[in-house]
């Protein structure tokens, strides 16, 4: 196909090709995959939310208000009519009024359309540190009246704002995916690299180990390992222990990809040439082989992130992953475990929507990267 193209427009194409770097070629090919480009923006948006969590979330993850347990989502309204019937622009939410449920005889909060609570942007707040080190005392949006309720996505059993907790949970859930993949990548590249480059008995042994791990059901394994974590560990220790547990299985897939690429490249002419020139193994691997399959590794790593996020969510949901003071999508979903709770407060399932969107976006992004990883292909 390339030859046909060259004979048709020889001068033009030759000049253009010779100027483009590997990354430019990849980017050009990636852009043709519209779904992947959209997914890239979605993923970037989610990671921005994770980074700016304190600024975006109107309330802290632990701020509770027992006056508004299981308050229904308010939503945000943008247009209102004043008493003369004129349209006005300005975001606001409705207030709540309490009603006694005639059957269950308990207080429920229903939206009171009489009360309008205006929302303002860049409202002052308690001082906090953005991403842990930038001192700030302003939030993206919030209510201006003190003590006015703001539960855009509803509240949980302690009257904590679901939106704020979702935003804070994004940081934990998305970062655990990244950290887990980085660790899997570390083991996967080293073990898979050795296995593919040297072959022989080591390769055979590694292949058996990988087959063995992949033939095991992972959830019972993870549950067993997670249950072994000491109860008195700090949140940070638990966090890293969970990522290590997840990468115990995660490295196998990446090691397979790396090994496959090594096997394919080992017999390439440029590797033989480097060997004949007397280059050391280390130099051949890092200077000649790794750059030529870096893009494949990036794609495989991207495709591994959703699995990590799902695994963390599942573990935390079962109560053996991250524990209560840490807010992650999994611990948020734990609130929704009881069907009766769920029936009265279905908005507690909303973290699941975030999970699904991110998993889909990461999968499309990974597919797009994988196709783009080989710019000369097809």
């Amino acid at each position: 196909m390339a030859i046909d193209a060259l004979t048709q427009q020889p001068a033009l194409l030759r000049v253009k090709r010779s100027r483009e770097s590997q990354s430019a070629l990849m980017w050009r090919r990636f852009r043709q995959h519209h779904l992947a480009v959209w997914s890239l923006w979605i993923v970037v948006a989610f990671y921005l939310v994770a980074l700016l969590a304190e600024f975006l979330a109107p309330l802290g993850p632990g701020d509770y208000n027992p006056r508004y347990t299981y308050a229904a989502p308010q939503g945000i309204h943008f247009f209102s009519t004043d008493e003369n019937g004129n349209w006005q622009f300005g975001p606001y939410v409705y207030g709540y009024k309490t009603e006694i449920d005639p059957v269950a005889l308990r207080r429920t909060f229903v939206i009171d359309e009489e009360v309008k609570i205006p929302i303002a942007f860049f409202v002052p707040s308690e001082p906090y540190r953005l991403a842990g080190f930038i001192p700030m005392s302003i939030k993206l949006f919030g209510v201006t009246e003190p003590r006015a309720p703001l539960y855009v996505l509803g509240a949980d059993r302690l009257g904590r704002d679901l939106l704020s907790r979702l935003i804070h949970g994004t940081r934990i859930s998305l970062s655990i995916g990244l950290v887990g993949v980085v660790m899997s990548l570390f083991f996967g590249v080293i073990i898979g690299g050795f296995s593919g480059y040297y072959g022989g008995w080591f390769d055979g042994a590694v292949q058996r180990v990988i087959e063995f791990i992949r033939s095991l059901p992972t959830i019972p394994l993870w549950l067993g390992l997670a249950a072994a974590l000491p109860r008195d560990w700090s949140s940070l220790q638990i966090y890293f222990a969970i990522t290590i547990i997840l990468s115990l299985v995660g490295w196998t897939e990446l090691a397979r990809v790396v090994r496959g690429r090594f096997l394919a490249l080992r017999t390439e002419d440029f590797v033989t040439a480097a060997q004949l020139d007397g280059a050391s193994d280390w130099r051949i691997i890092t200077k000649h082989m790794v750059p030529s399959f870096m893009s494949h590794i990036i794609a495989a790593a991207t495709l591994a992130v959703p699995g990590m996020i799902l695994a963390e969510t599942a573990l935390s949901f079962l109560g053996l992953g991250l524990q209560a003071p840490i807010v992650s999508w999994g611990t948020l979903m734990q609130e929704a475990q009881n069907i009766r709770t769920l029936a009265s407060a279905p908005w507690l399932l909303l973290p699941g929507v975030a999970v699904v969107v991110v998993i889909l976006a990461l999968n499309f992004l990974g597919d797009g990267l994988r196709d783009a990883a080989d710019p000369h292909g097809r």
Binding site: L216, L223, L318, I339, P346
Partner: protein
């Protein structure tokens, strides 16, 4: 065929041994053992345990001995006497507790596999034959959703919808009156009226993947010259498709059971917890949190062993339908 079979059986035995070793290592990991946890709870309640009874228990299970000694006691008990040890929490032999639950697990997973195949094959074939049709796009969308929706979320949504629309709680496998009854026609009916929901949840993710694989396989086959030949010879279209390319496309599909099964067993654990099913999953979770190590170890090991056996069966089916594997040695 015999060589193939012995080779596979040998590697299965080695794998099962490795599974048992890993399972025992995992339940040995937590600091302390059940007795320390037990003593802590008792002293927290202000009671004193009889030191001699505790010591007797410690002796009986070899607690506090080196890892390999404990493992040896455990594994010889299983292999020679079928004795998986005693559950501390239930104060009963593990074997009494787990077989019924494991049976339910196997039943559910088996039914999920059957549903998966029956749903995925026709849809996969349709999606490949009518490429880029509306049905193909629907199948693709379904495939992506099956990929992205965690099964416990799907179970929760299903339970919520069941509660809101029908006012019933989907969950459990039997109505109370059939819980301990013998198998009979009404009990089977009762079982299916409960079990459809978990089976649907369990089968969805796998179905989505199978459709994608079947579609891709069949698309590769449909391009091949022998299909054109068959068509040009005047074979009816359904025969052209079903007689040759579908059969060839099935081969790689059978081998997918090998990696489908571990995921299925995994998801059945978590779905069972959500839907409150009397399978091995909730029991595993409970035994892990209470450090009931022999129970947890037995469940982890048996789930692993079942997966390995299931994979072996799929390998045998593959060898049976594909002579190349049978004679290729590997």
């Amino acid at each position: 065929m015999l060589r193939f079979l012995t080779g596979r059986l040998f590697s299965m035995v080695v794998t099962i041994w490795a599974v048992s070793f890993v399972a025992f290592a995992i339940i040995q990991l937590p600091p302390g053992d059940y007795l320390t946890t037990y003593l802590a709870t008792i002293s927290a309640q202000g009671e004193r345990a009889d030191p001699r009874a505790i010591e007797a228990l410690r002796q009986q299970y070899g607690l506090g001995q080196p890892y390999l000694v404990q493992y040896w006691k455990w594994i010889t008990g299983i292999v020679l006497h079928g004795d998986f040890g005693r559950s501390f929490e239930w104060n009963a032999p593990v074997t009494e507790l787990i077989w019924g639950r494991l049976g339910n697990s196997i039943l559910l997973e088996g039914l999920a596999v059957v549903v998966m195949w029956f749903v995925a094959l026709p849809i996969g074939v349709y999606a490949a034959v009518r490429k880029y049709s509306l049905g193909d796009y629907l199948a693709t969308i379904f495939g992506f959703l099956g990929l992205a929706v965690p099964n416990f979320l799907f179970a929760l949504v299903l339970m919520y919808l069941g509660y809101v629309w029908f006012g019933t709680t989907l969950g459990g496998l039997f109505s109370p009156e059939f819980e301990n009854a013998r198998w009979s026609l009404p009990r089977i009916w009762d079982f299916f009226s409960h079990a459809w929901a978990p089976i649907v949840v369990l089968a969805t993710a796998g179905t989505a993947q199978l459709i994608r694989i079947m579609r891709a396989n069949l698309l590769d086959e449909l391009k091949k010259p022998y299909v054109t030949t068959a068509r040009s010879k005047g074979l009816p279209e359904w025969k052209v498709i079903l007689k040759y390319p579908v059969r060839v496309a099935l081969n790689p599909l059978v081998s997918t059971i090998g990696w489908l099964l571990p995921t299925l067993v995994s998801s059945s654990v978590i779905v069972s917890v959500v839907m409150n099913l009397p399978t091995a999953g909730p029991m595993l979770l409970r035994s892990l949190t209470s450090q009931d190590m022999y129970l947890a170890g037995a469940i982890i090991m048996l789930l692993g062993v079942l997966t390995v056996i299931g994979t072996l069966i799929s390998d045998l089916i593959l060898a049976w339908i594909d002579p190349r594997i049978r004679y290729g040695g590997n």
